[in-house]
C-alpha cells in the first residue's frame, strides 16, 4: 500500500468566522492551529495534526494531501507521475505546518495534489491506552474522520487511469455510457484499500470540488447529523438518503461559503478482485440517490 488515505482537504472560505463556527461547532472538528488567514482542524478519531485546512478568501478547493505509508513511496509516486507526463515539484517540511517533505503536482484534472509521509502526531481524542469508545464531550455532529472527496474533470476516464497508474487505486464502481468495452467513463469511484472510495471523479469542469465527506457510523448518526443541520440553519442539498453507488448513507450539505460537504456512513468493503459495479445512464438517478431515483439539478451543477 502506497497511499494510505486522503490526509487533508484544503479549501477556501469567504468568511473565516462563519467557517470556523461550521466546522468546529456544527461538525465538531478540533482546531489545532490558526495562523494568518488559515485554520487547521482534525476530527476526534484522527491522530495527525490536521485533516481540514480552511483558507480565507474565495471559495473552492486549494489542494488535497495524500499520506503514504513509507517515505520511499513518495519517490515511487514521483516517478510514476512523471512517467504519466505530469510535472512534479518537491515540497519541503514546513510548506504546510506540521507536514513533512513531499511532492506536489497538478493532476490531469487540474487539481493540486500533495503527497507526504510525515505529519505531526497529535493523537486521537481517546488516546491509545485503554481507550474509551468515543470522547464524552463531542460537539455537534462530532464526526470522527475525513473520509473521501468527489471532484470533477473533463475526462474522468483519464483520471481513472491516472489514479490507477500513479496511486495504484482501483475502481470499485463506475458510471459508463454503456456496458460496451469502449464505453466512456462518466464517473469513477476509486480506492486502494477496503474503503469503498477515497476519491471519486465525475464528468464536469476541470479543477472543481463537488464535495468532501466526513465518516459516520450508521443511519442513526446520519439522521442525527441532519437534525443538527436544521438546528444550525445549514442548507441541506440532499438527504438523508442512500447512494445506490457505494450503498453509503448520506446527507449532502453546504458550508457557509457554499462548499459542499457530506456525512457518509456504511458502504460495503472493497477488494481489488471484487467485480466492479457498473451503472448505466438509465439508472443514474437510482445510483446516486437510491430513494428519490432522480438526479436533482444541483448534483451536477453546483460546484465550487
Amino acid at each position: 500500500m502506497a497511499v494510505m488515505r486522503l490526509g487533508y482537504a484544503h479549501v477556501r472560505v469567504t468568511d473565516m468566522a462563519e467557517a470556523k463556527d461550521h466546522y468546529a461547532n456544527t461538525l465538531g472538528l478540533y482546531e489545532t492551529l490558526s495562523e494568518g488567514n488559515k485554520a487547521y482542524y482534525k476530527a476526534w478519531d484522527e491522530w495527525d495534526h490536521h485533516s481540514v485546512v480552511l483558507e480565507e478568501g474565495g471559495v473552492g478547493l486549494v489542494k488535497y494531501g495524500w499520506k503514504v505509508q513509507y517515505s520511499s513511496d513518495i519517490d515511487e509516486i514521483e516517478k510514476k507521475a512523471q512517467a504519466f507526463g505530469v510535472t512534479v515539484e518537491r515540497m519541503s517540511k514546513g510548506d504546510n505546518p506540521e507536514i513533512g517533505d513531499g511532492i506536489r503536482f497538478t493532476t490531469p484534472s487540474d487539481h493540486v495534489f500533495e503527497v507526504y509521509h510525515a505529519a505531526t502526531l497529535v493523537g486521537t481524542e481517546v488516546g491509545t491506552h485503554n481507550p474509551d469508545a468515543f470522547p464524552r464531550h463531542l460537539v455537534g455532529v462530532g464526526v470522527p474522520a475525513l473520509d473521501h472527496s468527489l471532484i470533477t474533470a473533463e475526462d474522468p476516464g483519464l483520471m481513472d487511469r491516472f489514479l490507477g497508474d500513479v496511486f495504484g487505486f482501483y475502481a470499485t464502481e463506475r458510471v459508463q455510457t454503456s456496458l460496451d468495452d469502449d464505453a466512456d467513463i462518466i464517473a469513477t469511484w476509486m480506492t486502494n484499500s477496503t474503503q469503498i472510495h477515497q476519491l471519486a471523479v465525475l464528468a464536469g469542469p476541470q479543477g472543481k470540488l463537488h464535495h468532501f465527506a466526513f465518516r459516520l457510523g450508521d443511519w442513526t448518526e446520519v439522521g442525527r447529523a441532519a437534525d443538527l443541520f436544521s438546528m444550525d440553519d445549514v442548507p441541506i442539498d440532499v438527504g438523508p438518503t442512500r447512494h445506490g453507488i457505494t450503498r453509503g448513507q448520506t446527507v449532502y450539505f453546504f458550508d457557509p461559503s457554499g462548499n459542499r460537504n457530506e456525512v457518509f456512513a456504511g458502504g460495503y468493503l472493497a477488494y481489488p478482485d471484487r467485480p466492479m459495479h457498473v451503472w448505466t445512464p438509465d439508472a443514474l438517478g437510482k445510483g446516486v440517490f437510491y430513494h428519490a431515483r432522480e438526479l436533482n439539478d444541483a448534483f451536477t451543477s453546483v460546484l465550487t
Binding site: 471559495v59 461559503s257 444541483a298 465550487t304
Partner: protein, 129 residues
C-alpha cells in the same frame, strides 16, 4: 421594507428588512434554479434591472467577477435590497409553487404599504424598530 418586482410578469414580493432576494422569493412561495444558497456556486444569479442592493457577506471573485459588480448581476442568495428592486431571471421564469405562502406574503406587503401610507398622512416618518 423593500419589495422585489419580477420582470416581466410584474409580480411584487415583500421582503423583511435584511432579507436576501432568494430567501424572500422562496418564502413567498416562488421557486427557481438555486444551488448552495451560500454564495459559492453562482447558480442563482439574476439580473437587477433597477434599484440598489448590497451583499451581506464577502463574495468570492470567482463567483462574481469584477465586471459583474456593476453590470446589474445579482447573486440572489447574498443580495439584500437597499431600495425596491426589479429583477429578471436568466433563461427561466420563477415558478409559483406554493400559493399559501404567496398569500401570506401578499398580506404582509399590503400591511406594510398601508402602514407607510398612514405614516405619510399623519406627517410622521417611519421609525426603525
Amino acid at each position: 421594507m423593500p419589495t422585489v418586482t419580477i420582470h416581466p410578469t410584474g409580480e411584487v414580493i415583500h421582503l423583511e428588512p435584511g432579507e436576501t432576494v432568494l430567501s424572500g422569493l422562496y418564502k413567498a412561495g416562488y421557486a427557481y434554479t438555486v444551488g448552495c444558497r451560500r454564495g459559492g456556486c453562482a447558480i442563482c444569479k439574476v439580473d437587477c434591472r433597477s434599484g440598489e442592493f448590497s451583499y451581506n457577506h464577502p463574495v468570492a471573485d470567482t463567483v462574481i467577477t469584477e465586471s459583474e459588480l456593476d453590470d446589474g448581476t445579482c447573486l440572489s442568495c447574498r443580495a439584500v435590497p437597499e431600495t425596491d428592486v426589479s429583477i429578471e431571471l436568466r433563461g427561466e421564469n420563477v415558478r409559483l409553487v406554493n400559493r399559501f405562502l404567496h398569500t401570506i406574503n401578499d398580506k404582509a406587503r399590503q400591511r406594510a404599504e398601508a402602514l407607510a401610507a398612514a405614516a405619510v398622512t399623519s406627517g410622521t416618518t417611519h421609525k426603525e424598530q
